[in-house]
Symmetry: C2
Subunit: 428 residues, 2 copies
C-alpha cells in the first residue's frame, strides 16, 4: 500500500480528552474515529490490526475443535424472559421496539440464543461435546464509556458456549479453553494471568478472568509471585489454578494463603473471562439430550469471552514507547514500512519503487511512504504507527548501495546490501 | 472436520413455511436457524460459505484499491438529520433511544457516517480518490420479511463509498467498481446483468442494479438478448452500458429501443446496487477539499452495495438440483466429503482415517462422515449439503484397491487408485 493513497489520518497533537495511552495512540495513529459516546469506527489501519487479532483468536478456537457461527445482534426479549435475565440486566442492556412493537434487545452476550439453538437441534449425548463460538459486535450501554475501545458501548467480542453431558466433561472443556486462551494471548506477545473471579450476572460456580498487567487497568489483581517465573510448558490449568491469583472482589487478606513478598498485586486489564455455570441456562431453556442409558439429561454449560477490540488497546498498553506503538509481528498492520527520503529524485524513486514491487511479490505486506513530505514527518509517522521493521531509502542508498533497516522495537539500525536485506526480512 | 462432531442439523422434511428453494435448502442443510421474524443465526456450515463469499468480495475490493473499515451498527440520529434522511426514511429504519434518551438508529446504510469521517480527516485533493468499504451487518425493519436470508431484517452487506474531486474522476471510479462487481460475481459462478435502476432513497443521477436471473427473483428485468452471448472480455462498462437493460420501474415499452425477440425479460435477484450521487451528502455534511487551484471543492461521491448474505441464497438458486445444493468450488464450505460406508469395520475405518489425515495434511478441507449411520443417510446428507467432490469408501475399496469419486454436479463417478485420486483432487 502506498501511503499517499492510504486513509491514515495521523495526528501530531495528543487528543485532550483521551486519558489512557492506548486511546491516545489509537487516535494519533488514525486507527479509530469516535462517532458517538463510546462508539467508534475502525479506520483502515485499526481494522487491519483488529482483523489479525480476530484471525489468531479464530485459529486457536478452531484448533481445539470449537465451531464458528454468527448469532444475530438483535435478539427477542422473550428468550431473555425465560432465563430471567430480561428484568435483571438493568440499563446496560439496550432495549428496542420494532415496527410491530415487539421487544428486541441488542445482544450484550448470547447464552439464551445459543442454548435455544442447541436445544432445537441436538438430541443425543453422542453429539456431545459441542463448543460454538462467534466473533461479533455486542452493545452494553455503559453509563460512562471511557478509555476509547477499552470500555466502549459497541464492541467486538469473541463469545463461546460449551455443551457437555456431565460435570467432568464440562470441567475438561473448561480446562481446554483455559489453556487455549493462554496460548492465544501469548501469540500476541501478551502474558495473561488467570485469576479466580466473581461470576457476576452470568452466574455459575467457577470463573476465571484473564488479566494483562498494566498501570492503566481498571481492576486490581493479587497473585503469587511464582506466576512471573513460570516456564511456558508449566502454564497448564493443573499448575496455574493451584497458584493463588484473585481479582480484588475475591481477594480476602485474612484468608489469603500467600503472605509477604510472595503476594504481588497489580492493576490489570481484563481481556478474557470464562465461566462454568452448569445447568443454569440449559434448565431454564430446556436443553436436554438423551443419555447413554436412554434417560433425558440436562446439559452442562460454560461460556467463554475474549475482548477482541479491547485486545488492540491492551497490546498497545503493553507494547509502546514515547514515539508510538511497538506492534508484535503477529498483529502488526503491515510487516514493513518503506520510507523514501528523497521523493522526487528519479534514481531514489526508481530504487524504492523496485524494492516495493519486489517485496510485494514476496508476499511481504509493505506500507510505502512516497508522500511529498519532510523526512522528519515520515520518521515520526512511521514510529507512531509502530510497524516492526523500517527500510529507509535516500541519496546515501544509491551512493553506498546499502539499505538502512531500523528495528522499531529496539531502535537498532543496520546497513545491509540488497541480498542481506532480503535474507534479514525473510528471517524476521 | 469429522461429521459426528460437526454441528450440522440437517432436516429430512421440507420446512412448511419456506417458499423459495434457497430458503428450503438452507434450512434443510442446517446452514441457518431463525431466531425471530427475518433474523437468522448462521450455523457452522452456513458460516463457512458466508466467510468464503466475504473473502472473495474483500479481495476483489482490495485489488482495485478500496480500503476496508468497520463502521458502527448504531449511529447517532443527528447526522441523519443533517442529511435530511432521518425523517424521510420511514419505518424501515429501526430507531432506538439509549439510557440517556439520545436518539440512535441501527444503520440501514452508512453514507452519513462515512461522509462525516471523510470530512473530519481529508483536506486536500492530493489525497483523492478514496474508496472506503466495510462488510457489516445492517438492519432494515421490513414489514414482511420473507424468503429466508433473501429478504431478512438483519443482514450482512458490503457497502462502499467513493470520494472524488470531480465528475470525471467519480465516473471513472464508478466504472471501475461496476467492472469489479462483474468479476466478483463471476468468481462465484454467477452471471450478473447490470440494469439501469431507479436511485430510490439514496438519491443521485446514475445507478445500476446487478441481477442474477432466477425464477424466484422479486424483480423483473428487461434486457437485450446480446447480454447472453457476450464474451467475458467484452464485459466492460463501455460495452455493457450501451446494451439495453432496465429494471421494471425504469422500463418503458414505448421508449425501449429494443424490439421483438431481441428484448428478453426475466425475474431477477438483486445482488448488488451502485449509485453515483454527486454532492448530495458531501454538500449536506460539508465534505470539501482544497483543489489544485487552492479553492475549496465539494467532493463527488458514490456508494456501492453487495448483499453478502443474499449471495449465499442467490448462489443456491442458481446452483442446485433435486437432491440439494451444488456449491461452486470457490464458495464450497468444504472441498471434499469423505464417506465411510462401513463404519465399524476395522480395515475400512483405518483406510478412511488415513485418507482423512493425508488430505488434511495437503490442506484439503474435508468433511469426514464417520457417523454410525446407514449408507442411504450418508449419501442423502452429502448430496444435500452439496460439496463439489465425494470420496466413497467401503468394503469394495479394500477388496479392489480403488476409491470411488463422485462429482456432485455432474453425478459422474470414477474408480481411482490412490495415486490417481490424489492427482484428481489436486487438479480439481
Amino acid at each position: 500500500m502506498k501511503l499517499s493513497q492510504f486513509f491514515l489520518p495521523t495526528l501530531k497533537e495528543v487528543p485532550a480528552d483521551a486519558q489512557v495511552i492506548s486511546h491516545r495512540l489509537m487516535l494519533r495513529a488514525g486507527m479509530i474515529h469516535q462517532t458517538s459516546a463510546g462508539i467508534y469506527a475502525w479506520l483502515p489501519l485499526g481494522y487491519r490490526v483488529l482483523k489479525k487479532i480476530e484471525d489468531i483468536v479464530s485459529r486457536e478456537q478452531d484448533i481445539i475443535g470449537c465451531q464458528k457461527v454468527i448469532l444475530p445482534t438483535l435478539q427477542s426479549a422473550d428468550l431473555w424472559r425465560k432465563s430471567g435475565r430480561y428484568d435483571g440486566y438493568g440499563k446496560e442492556m439496550l432495549r428496542i421496539k420494532d415496527r410491530h412493537e415487539r421487544d428486541l434487545l441488542y445482544s450484550p452476550t448470547a447464552e439464551e440464543v445459543i442454548t435455544d439453538i442447541f436445544q432445537s437441534h441436538i438430541k443425543s449425548y453422542k453429539q456431545l461435546p459441542q463448543v460454538l463460538y462467534q466473533i461479533h459486535w455486542k452493545f452494553r450501554d455503559e453509563i460512562r464509556p471511557r478509555f476509547g475501545v477499552m470500555r466502549g458501548r459497541e464492541f467486538l467480542m469473541k463469545d463461546g458456549y460449551s455443551f457437555d453431558l456431565d460435570y467432568n466433561a464440562a470441567k475438561q472443556t473448561y480446562e481446554r479453553i483455559y489453556e487455549s486462551y493462554l496460548r492465544t494471548f501469548k501469540e500476541m506477545d501478551l502474558t495473561a494471568i488467570p485469576v479466580k473471579a466473581d461470576t457476576g450476572p452470568i452466574g455459575g460456580d467457577l470463573s476465571h478472568e484473564f488479566h494483562v498487567m498494566a498501570p492503566t487497568g481498571e481492576s486490581t489483581i493479587y497473585y503469587d509471585a511464582a506466576f512471573e517465573t513460570l516456564p511456558d510448558a508449566a502454564r497448564t490449568f493443573a499448575t496455574m489454578s493451584n497458584l493463588y491469583a484473585a481479582a480484588e472482589e475475591m481477594h480476602d487478606v485474612a484468608q489469603c494463603p500467600i503472605k509477604g513478598e510472595q503476594l504481588k498485586s497489580s492493576k490489570g486489564i481484563e481481556i478474557g473471562h470464562i465461566f462454568y455455570f452448569g445447568t443454569k441456562y440449559s434448565k431454564a431453556l430446556g436443553a436436554e439430550v438423551m443419555g447413554p442409558d436412554g434417560k433425558q439429561m440436562t446439559v452442562e454449560m460454560g461460556s467463554y469471552g475474549i475482548g477482541v477490540g479491547r485486545l488492540v488497546a491492551a497490546i498497545i498498553e503493553a507494547h509502546h514507547d514515547d514515539a508510538g506503538i511497538l506492534w508484535p509481528k503477529s498483529v502488526a498492520p503491515f510487516d514493513i514500512g518503506l520510507l523514501n527520503l528523497k521523493q522526487g529524485d528519479a534514481a531514489v524513486d526508481a530504487l524504492a519503487e523496485d524494492l516495493y514491487t519486489t517485496l510485494r511479490s514476496m508476499n511481504v505486506d509493505v506500507l510505502y511512504d512516497e508522500r511529498d513530505e519532510r523526512a522528519g514527518t515520515k520518521f515520526a509517522d512511521m514510529d507512531l504507527i509502530g510497524l516492526p521493521l523500517q527500510v529507509i531509502i535516500g541519496a546515501k542508498t544509491i551512493k553506498e548501495g546499502l539499505f538502512e533497516v531500523k528495528i522499531r522495537k529496539s531502535g537498532e539500525r543496520k546497513m545491509l546490501s540488497k541480498e542481506e536485506l532480503f535474507n534479514f526480512i525473510k528471517a524476521n
